[in-house]
Every structure is written in structure tokens, then in C-alpha cells.
């Protein structure tokens, strides 16, 4: 049984090429993935991300529960609406999923988790409630539309009511606000400004159509992947999974070590790994012809590794990749491509932000 988002008919209507994405029939592109990519970097594009799972965590011990569940510390969230990116780890320190948590108050939070891991995540969230006075509620009555790009906010604002416009005016990155029927967040997965908007299912197709009428480009999973990779953002299942430590997935910054007496799931293993050193996720840049691809072998001075995500970067005009390599920092690496070893540059895993190269 294939799942369909509430916007499925809109994708078919637009002539999208559909693919199976972990049980969801989703658009891979609407014609040209590269044109869609450029629309987001230069103007405004939109993505149907309704397949992602929205979960509300409420109760008198919601904060204590999330401090136990997540490697990042929700105590950092003090401003209403502020969001935090975190890994949710297992006891072995592997990543069950990565997610965004929004703070409303200490008894009320909202999580957005991946679609591919939905069942597993909900089971895990429920399992960990043991001993905590919290309720976990999936909110599948909402569709979610990401509008991203330098003109995305201005375009989306045209559809907002006066009250909604006031609610988002001056909202900093990584915040979310419930404004009338919409939950509007300044988050995204592209490295551009924009909104992720939760829309009641009944209004989602209209909202999508109105954005289309404004000239916002519909974008598929293909462009979503090249955009997030240029921005150096991980894709769960590819750049990390349950067998990979967040320390080996460029997620060290999302681990709150202080206060030391906060126990979170996976902490003991991470503490040991941190002392011993782990693999690390680095960026690779190849300026010559060819495209780095996931699965290709990598060697660095004194070690080896593998490309976890690789693509042609439409913004840069050459290939970039994320690779997990042994704990050795070098300036170059060798990648085995089509039976030949090619020398590539090793960089921090971030390539493009706000339309510009950061190399």
C-alpha cells in the first residue's frame, strides 16, 4: 500500500515524475531537477513535505522527557517558538533519527521527524515515555509545504492574513509560530531563507495552487537532495543511521555535554567515543569532470572511508560529496571512481549558503 500526501493530485496535475520514497509516492521532479534547484537558489521554490511526521509532546514532564530522549538539550529553548535540531539516539549511541523540536512552553513541544522512519520513531517515542507524565500525539491532520529561496518569504507572505503577517514579521531563523490556521516556521532544508508551513489538510491544495499562481516553482525530491547536500545537511539513512555515532556524522555540535549530570540516551557510549576519537564526516570537492556518488571508496592519509552522499552541484557547476573517513584531517583525498583513483579536495561539510559558494 503506497501512501499519498494530500497534495498528490496536484503533483500529477503538474506532470511530476513520481517515485516511491520509503512507501510514499512522491515527486522526484516536475521536468528538470536542475531548473528546480536554481529556482530555489535564485527565486522561490516549494516542496511538498507532508510525508514528514509531526508529533506533539505535551505534559507536565514534557521537558524532562525530551532532556532524556534527545542529545541536544531543550533547556536551551527559552523563547516561545524557538526550534532546535537534535539527534535522537539509541543506547549504543547510534542515531535513531534526526529531528527538529519547537518549544512553546515547558509542557508543550512539537517535533518534526522523518517519514522514512515514522513507525520506528513513534515506537521509540512511546517506549521512552515510561516513567514520564507526557502524551505523544501524531498530528496527521496537517500537510506541510516548504517555501524556500531568496524571494520565498515575500511570496508566501502574500497568502498570509494580516494577523499571520504580523506574527512572522521579524521572526528570526529557526523559530515557529501558530498563527490562525497555519503553523509557520523559519526552518528549511536548502540553505536558503524561507518557511516551512503546516497547513490543515483541507486547505493544503488551495494553498499550493495559490503559491503556484504567484510563480513559486514546484520542486521535487531530486532538487531537495542537491540543495540540502550543497548546504551540507545530512540525510537520515544515508549520512547517518542507527549504526553511526553523531560524532561521525558532523552532529557533534548538536550534543549538549553540559550539564554533566544530565543523562540522555546514548550518553555513556558517546562519552567514551569522544575520548577515543571517531570517524568524521567531511566535505569533498571535485572540480574536474565527473560526479562523486554515494558508496564510492575514499582514502585519506592514514585511513579510508566512504562517500555517504554525492552529487553534481548545480550552483557550483562541479561535484561535491559528504564522506565518512577515519579520524584524520588531510587537505586531499583519493576517490575510486569508475575504476580510477581521483584526487579531490577535503573541506568542511558545507558548500553553498544563501545562493553563494562558501568554498
Amino acid at each position: 500500500m503506497t501512501n499519498k500526501t494530500i497534495l498528490h493530485a496536484k503533483h500529477i496535475e503538474a506532470g511530476a515524475k513520481m517515485v516511491d520514497f520509503f512507501g510514499w509516492d512522491m515527486p522526484i521532479n516536475y521536468g528538470s531537477q536542475i531548473e528546480e534547484h536554481h529556482a530555489v537558489r535564485r527565486d522561490a521554490g516549494m516542496f511538498d513535505v507532508s510525508h514528514m511526521t509531526i508529533v506533539d509532546v505535551k505534559g507536565v514532564q514534557a521537558q524532562a522527557y525530551l532532556r532524556h530522549l534527545l542529545a541536544n538539550d531543550v533547556v536551551k529553548l527559552q523563547d516561545k517558538g524557538k526550534a532546535l535540531y537534535s539527534g535522537m539516539l539509541n543506547e549504543a549511541g547510534g542515531v535513531v533519527d534526526d529531528l527538529i523540536v519547537y518549544f512553546f512552553d515547558e509542557t508543550n513541544y512539537r517535533l518534526v521527524v522523518n517519514s522514512a522512519t515514522k513507525e520506528k520513531d513513534l515506537n521509540w517515542l512511546n517506549l521512552q515515555t515510561k516513567g514520564f507524565d507526557v502524551t505523544i500525539t501524531e498530528r496527521d491532520e496537517f500537510a506541510m509545504i516548504a517555501v524556500q529561496g531568496p524571494n520565498a518569504k515575500a511570496q508566501a507572505c502574500k497568502l498570509f492574513s494580516a494577523a499571520q503577517q504580523e506574527a512572522v514579521a521579524g521572526m528570526k531563523p529557526f523559530y515557529g509560530v501558530q498563527a490562525e490556521d497555519l503553523f509557520i516556521a523559519t526552518t528549511g532544508y536548502t540553505g536558503e531563507a524561507g518557511y516551512e508551513i503546516m497547513v490543515p489538510n483541507a486547505h493544503a491544495a488551495d494553498f499550493w495552487q495559490q503559491l503556484l499562481d504567484l510563480g513559486v516553482t514546484p520542486c521535487g525530491l531530486g532538487a531537495r537532495d542537491t540543495l540540502r547536500l550543497e548546504a551540507g545537511m545530512n540525510l537520515y539513512g544515508q549520512d547517518m543511521d542507527e549504526t553511526i555515532s553523531p560524532l561521525a556524522a558532523n552532529m557533534g555540535w548538536t550534543i549538549s555535554w553540559e550539564p554533566e549530570d544530565r543523562y540522555f540516551i546514548g550518553r555513556d557510549v558517546l562519552t567514551q567515543q569522544r575520548a577515543e576519537g571517531t570517524d568524521q564526516l567531511v566535505g569533498l570537492v571535485m572540480k574536474e569532470k565527473g560526479v562523486l556518488r554515494a558508496g564510492q571508496k575514499v582514502t585519506v592519509a592514514g585511513g579510508e572511508g566512504v562517500i555517504t552522499s554525492g552529487t553534481f552541484s548545480p550552483t557550483l557547476g562541479h561535484s561535491v560529496a559528504l564522506a565518512r573517513v577515519s579520524h584524520t584531517v588531510t587537505d586531499t583525498a583519493e576517490v575510486e571512481m569508475r575504476k580510477k583513483w581521483v584526487t579531490v579536495d577535503v573541506v568542511k561539510p558545507s558548500f553553498v549558503r544563501n545562493g553563494k559558494s562558501v568554498l
Partner: protein, 129 residues
């Protein structure tokens, strides 16, 4: 259903061949092939003067999705390559049978083309995929 021009001949590996006279043939990949591959980002073409034999991997079409070998549909000498593809690989997507051509071959045996698939034969072969 993708476009398969009746006047061309085809290899089951998705190359098309167009006779240009004097034993010269133009080679490219089919609309169906470019649809499967998605947006093209690099073409690695053979060099002029290369001797190629039927079935050799002579070029690489690299798209956002995958790198795919292009095979020589006939034997002969490469006498021209489409240099426009260096800067505009997307021509393979937008005009696979026209401006998206890849290379021209002077056939060793012009009759070899008769052994390739007709448009109908190619259409059948991709239906079976």
C-alpha cells in the same frame, strides 16, 4: 510513450544511429534513455580519430542520477564529436535526436547498420524492460 523517430536505427543499449551518406553515421542516445537518466551534467565523449568497435563503451553520459556508459552501435572511426555538449550537456535532454547528438562515425561497413533495431523493434525492446 517517448518519441522514437521512424527514420533512425537503434541499439538495444539505447543509442540511435542516423545515416548521413558516404558511410557516415551520427550517434546519440534516445529520448527514453535521457528520461531514465534525468538532467545531464557531463558528457565524456570519445576523441576524433578513435577506432571504435561495436559494443565498446566509448562515452559516458553522467546525469544528476547516475553515470551511464554509451556503447558504440557500429564499428568505425570517430570523425566528429559534438563539442557543444561540453558547455550544454542539457541538449541531450532537450533535443536528444537533434542538437544533443554525441559523435559521428565513418563506418567500417555501412551495411552493419542494417543489423540494428528498427524504431518498432526498439519500441518493443523498451516495453519489455
Amino acid at each position: 510513450m517517448s518519441n522514437i523517430p521512424a527514420e533512425l536505427r537503434y541499439a538495444s543499449t539505447h543509442e540511435w544511429v542516423r545515416p548521413e551518406g558516404n558511410g557516415i553515421f551520427t550517434v546519440g542516445i534516445t529520448e527514453h534513455a535521457q528520461e531514465l537518466l534525468g538532467d545531464m551534467v557531463f558528457l565524456d565523449l570519445p576523441d576524433e580519430g578513435d577506432e571504435i568497435a561495436t559494443g565498446d563503451d566509448v562515452a559516458v553520459a553522467e546525469s544528476v542520477k547516475a553515470a551511464s556508459d554509451v556503447y558504440a552501435p557500429i564499428s568505425g572511426e570517430v570523425i566528429a564529436i559534438n563539442e557543444d555538449l561540453e558547455d550544454s550537456p542539457e541538449l541531450v535532454n532537450t533535443d536528444p535526436y537533434g542538437d544533443g547528438w554525441m559523435f559521428k562515425v565513418k563506418a567500417d561497413d555501412a551495411g552493419e547498420v542494417e543489423s540494428l533495431l528498427t524504431a518498432d523493434g526498439y519500441a518493443e525492446s523498451i516495453e519489455d524492460e
